[in-house]
């Protein structure tokens, strides 16, 4: 049975190998295109109109799951993966075709037979499975601030937000304080609030955002305010009256 396919894998040798093996097991299959990541899926569909996509799950840039989402039901999809217990379980239950690396000819022959059968029917949408897998593989919202760039002397320091104890506005600048260093950035508290993960970073004062993971204790202070003590740091932070409700009943 003749059919056309596209292979996507970021490792050139593995693309070549899949191609060689497929040529042996399924001589009528025409591999029309190879790609190193999931970018340009649209263009590839337009140009090559393949019946089948072999998609490596872990690819830089646009990975196999994201590519599958774009392809939708416009082509049959076979996932390729080296090792992913979760993914394999999901494939088995979702009756989606997959290939394990390193390849095993017998296993690949089974997949080829199944694919030949399935090509008789139009491709089904595997959206729900892809969503489920994306969840398991730990893709998270990408728009949260995860790094802060701050000038220290002549170099630009990259500080992962997990390391930051608190942000505090200091007239023109914002202080970024970690357990062993301190830097100034220009981004104001207001903008930081919009970009930081709200579960981890709480505003406790007009001028202060604290990383709750680094709080050691919260004490009641004067005039309805509260005082935060931090782990690994001497400074205490004032919680102004408007924000003390955050710490009630804790």
């Amino acid at each position: 049975m003749s059919a056309s396919a596209v292979i996507a894998d970021d490792e050139p040798l593995l693309r070549a190998m899949l191609r060689t093996r497929l040529a042996r097991l399924w001589p009528e299959l025409e591999v029309r295109h190879e790609m190193a990541d999931g970018r340009d899926v649209e263009r590839v569909i337009d140009e090559h109109a393949p019946d089948l996509f072999f998609l490596d799950i872990h690819m830089p840039g646009v990975n196999g799951l994201e590519a599958a989402r774009t392809i939708g039901s416009r082509a049959h999809i076979v996932f390729v993966t080296a090792f992913d217990q979760h993914a394999v379980e999901a494939f088995e239950r979702g009756a989606v075709d997959y290939v394990l690396k390193p390849f095993n000819d017998e296993r690949l022959a089974v997949t080829v037979e199944r694919l030949k059968e399935r090509l008789e029917r139009p491709p089904i949408s595997i959206d729900s499975l892809v969503e489920q897998l994306a969840g398991r593989l730990g893709s998270r919202p990408a728009d949260r601030l995860r790094w802060v760039k701050a000038s220290v002397g002549s170099s630009v320091r990259l500080i992962p937000v997990e390391e930051i104890l608190f942000f505090q506005s200091d007239e023109k600048y914002t202080r970024v304080v970690t357990s062993d260093s301190e830097a100034l950035i220009r981004k104001p508290i207001r903008e930081l609030l919009e970009e930081l993960d709200p579960d981890k970073f709480w505003q406790v004062h007009r001028a202060t955002i604290v990383n709750v993971d680094h709080i050691a204790s919260v004490k009641r202070g004067l005039k309805d305010q509260a005082e935060i003590a931090l782990r690994d740091h001497r400074e205490t932070l004032v919680v102004s009256r408007a924000f003390t409700h955050l710490f009630k009943q804790m």
Binding site: L13, A82, R157
Partner: protein
């Protein structure tokens, strides 16, 4: 009223009973030296005791400025004794002016006894509070140490898991599988690299520290493998003086940085990238850096954080504030990660 309630915090029934008992005992001890009856003396003693107790409690709760809490509490006891004797005199119906004249000696003796006993009792209370604070501090230090030990254990566990990353192993083997059929010489070289990597990596599950030389060898094997896997996209340069190779360096940190540089630096930017490993002695301190020419860090790009946090925690556990991990922007592009450890 509500806002002053905290001043009497600690004024428990237990404290009142203790003061009562102490007054009774103290009166019993000195009753032989006075012509007064036991009950008459006890009344004075209780007046002095209760007044001092209330002032002492307030002094302990007041938010004071310069003076140490203990000094204020002693002053409270002295003031309490003076006030208590006067109160006792009033209760017994004595004239204040006569107390300050013909009865002055007796009054002074009462006050002196009050102050004396009071100070002994307060000293005991202060010592007990200090002991409790010390205990609390010891318990806290203990908890911190336990947490640290737990962190080290967890880090070690993650280390063991990271080394046998199945994804890396199977992908590498898949490459070898292909090369065996197409280019036997390259297959053999890649197997050599894999063997070198595993040989360097595996024994470290059992060891705490290793030499920089061995970590560099492992990184080299790892980079060789990735160079084959990524085609022509990866170049690397290792600039580590031989004189530094025998220096102790914690295991798996260098490889972790190299992995990050590939995964988050060179790999996503889809062109050719170079990774440079450098080591330098900086007045006895050892600095090891991994630089890439990759796409650098976008403010929102994830990943890497956990591995870096892991390294930071291990450095802290091993060297305290003397070990550090710093990430900086590379020029013209990419990231430099540097680990510094003390001699």
């Amino acid at each position: 009223m509500k806002s002053y309630a905290h001043l009497l915090e600690g004024l428990t029934v237990q404290r009142v009973l203790w003061v009562t008992v102490i007054c009774m005992v103290a009166t019993g001890m000195v009753v032989g030296f006075f012509i007064n009856t036991y009950l008459d003396l006890l009344l004075s003693a209780l007046c002095v005791g209760y007044t001092s107790m209330v002032l002492f409690t307030v002094a302990g709760n007041v938010r004071q400025g310069g003076l140490p809490r203990e000094a204020i509490q002693i002053m409270a006891v002295v003031a309490g004794s003076v006030l208590g004797v006067i109160v006792a005199g009033l209760i017994k119906g004595r004239d204040i002016s006569s107390m300050l004249n013909e009865r002055l000696v007796g009054v002074a003796i009462s006050m002196g006894l009050g102050i004396g006993f009071g100070c002994v009792v307060v000293a005991g209370a202060i010592l007990r509070a200090k002991h409790a604070r010390d205990q609390a501090r010891i318990a806290k230090a203990e908890a911190e140490r336990n947490q640290l030990e737990k962190n080290i254990l967890e880090a070690r566990l993650q280390l063991m898991q990271a080394q046998v990353e199945p994804h890396f192993l199977f992908n590498t083997l898949a490459n070898v599988q292909h090369l065996v059929e197409t280019d036997a010489a390259s297959a053999s070289r890649m197997l050599d690299s894999l063997i070198n990597y595993l040989r360097a990596a595996l024994p470290q599950m059992r060891e705490g520290a290793t030499s920089l030389g061995r970590e560099v060898d492992m990184a080299r094997a790892f980079l060789d493998i990735h160079r084959v896997r990524m085609g022509s996209r990866l170049e690397y340069l290792i600039d580590v003086p031989d004189s530094l190779k025998a220096r102790a360096f914690p295991p798996m940190m260098l490889i972790s940085l190299v992995e990050n540089a590939i995964k988050h630096g060179v790999d996503p930017c889809c062109e050719c990238g170079t990774i440079t490993i450098r080591a330098a002695d900086n007045e006895g301190r050892l600095t090891v850096s991994v630089a890439d020419t990759g796409e650098g860090v976008r403010p929102t790009s994830g990943g890497g954080g956990l591995g870096l946090t892991n390294i930071r925690e291990r450095l802290k556990a091993l060297y305290g504030p003397r070990g550090s991990l710093v990430l900086e922007e590379n020029t013209p592009r990419g990231v430099v990660a540097s680990i510094e450890v003390p001699a």
